[in-house]
Symmetry: C2
Subunit: 334 residues, 2 copies
């Protein structure tokens, strides 16, 4: 692939912006509520060039200001869970994931919305991150570059979880394209103006980009640093009680995306001892001391950084679209 | 009162250090677990000059990593709640408050422990605070000055809630002397090494001071800045849904104990408008954007600062103690 190769991609007529997938991550909750007010006005006033669906994903958890009611909604969007047997006694989030799949998907189908942006917060000092399942989704990567350019004062990273579409588990995997917009640090159950404003700006610039793309603008290719998740590290724990016996080391705390070298301090035990990173390869830590991951056994995650070349893109013309549509249809028939 | 007047005060043979009164304020939870291990060793090794009771106040909430199970334990220690009728259907924390009152009190009685130090965290940028119901408890004020001297790198304030002993509602009110040690910022459900270490140091220096005091040391008088709570301010809210419609203004966020003047920015609405402080008197804000106070209708609290003169103190000699004891006994008989 040449950098100046121009790829033509399908239009993105339908976008979903979701918040409150975790009910205590408040920037997304309040931004969605605000967007719902604005959407009401916009619908009354004019026809939008892109249809934007605003969704409060987990209303019950949001009402309780908890991450979830029965189980983590953002782990319910695997092929297996969405298509498993249905029962009256299913946890609330299993039922809700099917409702959302019907609304925004079905996942993997042609009816699915074109782009899902799911809003999240973290207690980790991660700035703004895109979290995706692909390192070659040019739409997500171009939106990311657009935001990097438009919001230069916020540190911004692109995180890639190398998981197949079938096994991808988060709400954003329901769209044809999708990403989680993760912003921190912000305590869960708290809304901080600076984090809220950053998220609001991120969503506005994302929608601006989609409008520009749909209207035929050409977006030049280039390079993006992609952080691919390699492994998680759990806290040291008491073998009997399973309680943690150490916290993130003060030298590591808040230093997300600063290279962690072998033998660097990793944890400080509650009695004051320093435990060091025993890995052999320097890697980039992220989700350092994320509140919700104590129960998942993750003290931090580690990533490898790669520079990915992305092509120039523009939207397909109507003729190209018809030709491709016919091609897809005959493929479907086969 | 002269500054160099020397007051003689009763010994402090029994001290309680409590954590996990709120189950998701993790510095206290992990410090108490650590102290319980150390205590076990200490008891095996030597006789302590002061008896220290280490208490995990709300084990059920701690296990769930929630602030509370049924109701806020740290509002259950009023005279009325502790002495009300007992029922099998009482909320867990009501039952637990009576157990703790039996263990550490009874509140207001001579059997009560001499000093209760209850460990708390806040999401507000408050550094280390002592929170008390008295601005003339020389024991608490002297301990505070000792910690200010011994831990100079942590901002430290003394907060006074002007509430009578009968109406005082928190666990620390059960002791003859008591204070909450409140440290932040730390998200609830997270433990940060720096905050844990500050709390550990605070407790160690507090216990050192009690040992010194009991052994007859004279502590010189001086001045302490006391912040007396004046009022709380709630978030702007939607009149129908009661949802908040604004966050703390970015200029105010994290600026606890920085004087707030009339017309200073107070909130930023979710649509971007600035709302200003309409009070007539400059006051000191604290508990700015504390997570647990959204449900209590408190966006921040405001205090007036006063300089309080505290006398020099030493422990009573045995003779003084006997004389005072006899005096108390005859008062009791009357």
């Amino acid at each position: 692939m040449e950098v100046d190769e121009l790829m033509c991609l399908p239009r993105l007529p339908r976008v979903a912006v979701c918040g409150g997938t975790h009910g205590n991550e408040l920037s997304g909750v309040y931004l969605v509520r605000e967007l719902l007010k604005v959407e009401k006005k916009a619908v009354e006033e004019e026809e939008e060039p892109v249809s934007v669906m605003i969704v409060l994903s987990n209303p019950r958890a949001t009402q309780q200001c908890h991450r979830y009611v029965d189980t983590d909604l953002n782990r319910c969007f695997t092929h297996a869970t969405l298509n498993g047997p249905i029962s009256d006694t299913d946890p609330y989030e299993i039922i809700r994931s099917r409702e959302l799949n019907a609304l925004l998907g079905p996942k993997g189908s042609r009816q699915a919305v074109d782009l899902v942006c799911d809003l999240h917060n973290t207690t980790a000092n991660m700035g703004m991150c895109f979290i995706t399942y692909s390192d070659c989704d040019w739409i997500c990567l171009h939106i990311f570059r657009h935001l990097q350019k438009e919001i230069p004062d916020i540190p911004m990273r692109f995180i890639h979880f190398d998981v197949s579409n079938k096994e991808s588990y988060s709400l954003d995997s329901v769209g044809k394209h999708g990403f989680a917009m993760e912003i921190g640090p912000q305590p869960h159950g708290v809304v901080r103006s600076n984090i809220y404003t950053a998220m609001k700006g991120g969503v506005q610039h994302m929608l601006d980009w989609v409008r520009l793309f749909n209207s035929g603008a050409i977006f030049r290719g280039g390079f993006v640093d992609v952080f691919t998740m390699v492994k998680h590290i759990d806290y040291p724990r008491d073998s009997v009680t399973h309680n943690i016996t150490a916290a993130i080391h003060p030298h590591l705390q808040d230093r997300d995306f600063c290279l962690l070298h072998p033998d660097d301090p990793l944890f400080q035990t509650f009695s004051g001892e320093t435990l060091r990173y025993k890995g052999k390869e320097p890697l980039y830590p992220f989700f350092i001391n994320e509140c919700a991951y104590y129960e998942k056994g993750i003290a931090l995650s580690l990533a490898r950084k790669r520079r990915v070349m992305i092509p120039s893109i523009r939207v397909e013309t109507e003729q190209e679209q018809q030709a491709n549509h016919q091609q897809y249809s005959s493929e479907d028939e086969n």
